[in-house]
């Protein structure tokens, strides 16, 4: 199957002389839920800007669903929906008008535009706000409105730049549910986020970009398998005072407080070995959690390796 996005040796040098992209090559399959991660200033927004045509590339090739974006400008634009990081709608227009206008820009007849506007504003919980001026919306609502606007022409590829920034926890989860649903329905999704636990949970494939270069491009599963140490916090049933010394290789136990223990596993050890050791010591575990988000751990280690020239 043709890739949703195929980018080859993409370079961008701004007029100021800043080199934002230093030859990025990347492929995102159709139907993927893809995370593009990187620290601030790594080149994520420039990359997205080039795909949306708001940023002009210096060199390189971009294909969308097999079509060259230079020779099939209008078709590739029709295939793409963009939710930018910054607010980019008129603060004086009403919510419904903004989405309807965007539908008109994509050539949707008025009746269909009205149906789609209603559909997506309802799905994103904003239908009651359709006659409200956009500046009066909360930060989370503004972001959801931008998602509705990006979807109104039903693109095959949706790119979201920090979609959950400033959105409260409850709405964040309902937003993820919604994105998963449209992804299951066939829309390819590419997103950037600073919430790495969300990327770990929802994205199937991942690329890490740093200083304008892709330093990791793999599946989420494969990447997480590369993690050789896992740290967990285990909560005990009751307060304990037992000595945590043991003979088990690849397992380090440390008392955090009177009812929780840190377990660090390495060399292929799994959590069962920690539970078994603690059981022998008479300590019962009632719950556990990752000490640090696993993707965060990997993300930081990749960036450090890149800084040290280790690739």
């Amino acid at each position: 199957m043709t890739a949703a996005i195929s980018v080859n040796n993409l370079k961008k040098v701004y007029a100021s002389g800043v080199v934002a992209l230093k030859g990025v090559s990347l492929e995102v399959g159709q139907g993927d839920f893809f995370a593009l991660l990187g620290p601030n200033g790594a080149g994520k927004s420039t990359f997205i800007g080039i795909l949306s045509t708001l940023v002009k590339r210096t060199s390189g090739e971009v294909r969308m669903f097999g079509r060259d974006v230079d020779t099939h400008v209008y078709q590739t634009k029709r295939d793409l929906g963009i939710v930018p990081q910054e607010i980019n709608f008129s603060q004086f227009e009403k919510v419904g008008d903004i989405v309807m206008t965007q539908a008109g820009y994509y050539g949707l007849p008025r009746k269909l535009a009205a149906q789609r506007t209603e559909k997506y504003l309802k799905q994103l919980g904003l239908w009651e706000k359709r006659d409200v001026r956009s500046r009066l919306l909360s930060g989370g609502m503004k972001r959801r409105m931008m998602i509705a606007r990006a979807l109104v022409h039903e693109p095959r590829l949706l790119i979201l730049d920090e979609p959950t920034a400033g959105v409260d926890i409850e709405l964040r989860w309902s937003m993820w549910d919604f994105l998963l649903e449209i992804n299951r329905a066939g829309t390819t999704i590419i997103l950037t986020t600073h919430y790495l636990e969300e990327a770990e949970q929802f994205c199937r494939n991942i690329a890490i970009i740093d200083e304008g270069r892709i330093i990791e491009d793999t599946s989420m599963k494969k990447l997480l398998l590369e993690l050789d140490t896992h740290a967990y916090i285990l909560d005990t049933e009751a307060d304990f005072d037992a000595d945590l010394r043991h003979e088990e290789p690849g397992l380090a136990l440390r008392k955090v407080d009177s009812h929780s223990i840190e377990a660090v596993l390495s060399g292929g050890r799994d959590i069962n070995s920690a539970v078994a050791v603690l059981d022998r010591l008479g300590i019962r575990i009632v719950s556990m959690r990752n000490k640090v988000n696993r993707l965060e751990q990997l993300f930081l280690s990749r960036l450090r390796a890149d800084e040290n020239g280790g690739g």
Partner: protein
């Protein structure tokens, strides 16, 4: 579908532009009508009664075409410059740039919006002028033709201003320091026959002079210049400015990085 989507996009831009200036009518429609009405009262009625005739007409009748044209020019220009710049400023212009809309459709949409406001205000001013002077139209075709082309040319000018504007000062500099002097020196209030030969020659370098005089010819049947020549200039300006706007859009000046 292909020709349809462009038409729908065009209609959407025009509709949005009209909705914008109607929403803020107290800023866009009311002030020019009040200002021009004051010109009618002060210059046309009070001062004009002492001036007597100009170009063979009552002074009030002489200045009506110029004042209508002044309203059309200022409002066509300022609608496009303020609308496009505010879309740049709020970044909502990105909604247009990511959509599959050819540059000429984007430009035509904004220009049509500017012309709509210019003609609306021009029409209201014309109605107000009927309170002060009898309006006889010598040539409807020339009158409508020149007002349409003038509105088009200044909408295009407003677009170029907006493309290069980086802040709100840049939006008001050209109307204040270029457009207003050109309008006042373009024969709105006097016939250039009153000027010494040198200043008559200078006046002929002012494009607004041709527009005002052609419009005056359409209404009164009298003009300081050759109407065919004035029309040729207007068409030339419109074509040139349209070309410049399309070139700027294609380059992405001020809107794409």
């Amino acid at each position: 579908m292909l020709s349809d989507y462009r038409l729908i996009a065009f209609e959407t831009i025009v509709y949005k532009e009209i909705r914008r200036f109607m929403r803020i009518w107290t800023q866009t429609m009311l002030p020019p009508v009040i200002t021009i009405s004051l010109y009618f009262v002060i210059f046309g009625n009070l001062v004009g009664s002492r001036i007597g005739e100009m170009g063979g007409f009552r002074y009030m009748e002489f200045i009506v075409p110029g004042l209508i044209m002044m309203a059309v020019i200022q409002n066509s220009y300022s609608n496009v410059v303020s609308s496009f710049f505010s879309q740049k400023f709020q970044r909502s212009v990105e909604e247009l740039l990511v959509a599959p809309i050819p540059n000429y459709v984007i430009l035509s949409g904004f220009i049509a919006g500017g012309m709509a406001r210019g003609l609306c205000v021009g029409f209201i001013v014309t109605l107000v002028s009927l309170l002060f002077a009898e309006l006889r139209i010598f040539s409807p075709l020339i009158t409508i033709g020149v007002v349409l082309f003038t509105s088009l040319v200044f909408s295009l000018g407003g677009f170029i201003n907006a493309v290069f504007a980086n802040n709100f000062d840049d939006v008001s500099i050209i109307p204040t320091f270029v457009l207003t002097p050109l309008i006042y020196l373009g024969g709105v209030f006097y016939s250039i026959e009153l000027l010494p030969p040198f200043w008559q020659l200078v006046s002929r370098l002012n494009p607004i002079f041709y527009m005002v005089n052609t419009f005056r010819y359409g209404i009164l049947g009298t003009s300081d210049i050759d109407v065919a020549w004035a029309f040729a200039m207007l068409v030339l300006f419109a074509v040139l400015l349209f070309g410049v706007c399309i070139w700027l859009l294609r380059k992405g000046t001020g809107i794409r990085s």
